[in-house]
Amino acid sequence: MDIAAIFRAESGRSVATLVRLFGDIDIAEEAVQDAFAVAVERWPAAGLPPNPGAWITTTARNRAIDRLRRESSRHDRHAQAALVRADREPVEPVGPVSDDRLRLIFTCCHPALAPTVQIALTLRLLGGLQTPEIARAFLVPEATMAARITRAKKKIAAAKIPYRVPGDAELPDRLRPVLAVVYLIFNEGYSTTSGDGLVRADLCAEAVRLARLLAELMPDEPEVLGLLALLLLSESRRAARTAPDGSLVLLPDQDRTRWDGDLIAEGQALVRACLRRNRPGPYQIQAAVNAVHSDAPTAADTDWGQILALYDQLLVLAPTPVVALNRAVALAEVKGPAAALAEIEGLDLDGYHLFHSTRADLLARLGRHAEAAAAYHRARSLAANAAERSFLDERAAAARARTG
């Protein structure tokens, strides 16, 4: 019996319900921890209850009420208020939003909280990750992460950050940080190979799980579906991105038989559903770019014209230097490296290692190997993780070997 897996899968829902019942995140977290402690004692002998999640929620609620009654005096207004509230609130949520997790994710990703804090709270409260795991995943000392989470919970309580799904008028503004948090969690697991490899893979899985949850709860938001599609299509290639020795394998060099066909099929179906709705947004377009890659049996079969057209569209919606850089990669395939190099020369991305490695790649293709070596070197000095650095070292050495 894998109670840890059940905790990971179910604790978010239970914590979310308990936050609504008691109006307090600490009470909710403590009660759910208590309930799982009871489960660890009981389940191995008694067997799993028919609905473990519901059992945890009910047990947690009862434990919290007992604890509050025991510990609260008549003068403890906070505990009294929590008890009165739990007495009044039905265990099953009612109203237009029937899932407490959606309320909770909007609280965790409230714009009054810093993005790093939004991520940590989301992972802890909805993902069931413990503070040490989150600290390890983000390469932050445990005490720092614990202090960050404690401060955030205090702010939520003191400033009264509400526990509700925003209305239609605010939803677009409020959905943006929610999607960004899920995307950042995924990227943290996907694009870096430093730190604890296992925890990193877990971050990708957790982000996909959160994106699935959002898509299930907000099926009419095309960007939510776009984000899920983007994550699924990226995740489909994760195994192929790493060579047996741990080094990075770029898209053109990946063994495409190692791509996950089920994830690709699911992601592509979502992209097609988004196209039919015709309400494009940045996540949907990035998902579509990934869908085009997924369609190509070999790198040479890639429909770069289609990808360039998608980046043209993305650049209109999100005119950022990073999008312009990605567009230039597609442009190099359609119109050649000289055209692409001309496009990126003016971009304000000097501190971004992928700018320098892209530039280096274009220079190498134009036979300007000395400049390419220098640019790879610059990229290497900015890259954050070991796998990328050794990859760039190799490229720089190869370019240097071809000079003179």
Binding site: R77, H110, A112, A158, A159, K160, I161, P162
Partner: protein
Amino acid sequence: MTQYLMSVWMVEGTEPYASPEEMEQAFKDVEVFNDELKAAGKWVFAGGLHPASTATVVKVADGGDVITTDGPFAETKEQLGGFWVIQAADLDEALALAARATVACKAPVEVRPFQDEPAA
């Protein structure tokens, strides 16, 4: 209902308004906003302050004596220029009011909750 401090921040040495007309407009807009706060039952108290150069600090020194010094306490360029105390149901409502406040007074507004009133 929670009470929130909406403090208005000025940067010493910079003029918040581009022209006398703009200042005039800001005063008018703040007045309209204040009337709406009162009508909606959100108003507790508000006021604008003279520049930080008019401030005096009184504090207990190491020896236990109370001493008086010229100037503001915080040694920064950012100084309090005025404030509202409002009451709102939650932070979202307070932030929505702060959004209107900053547009009216044309300066950054910081929102901070008051501690609960002690039990009677």
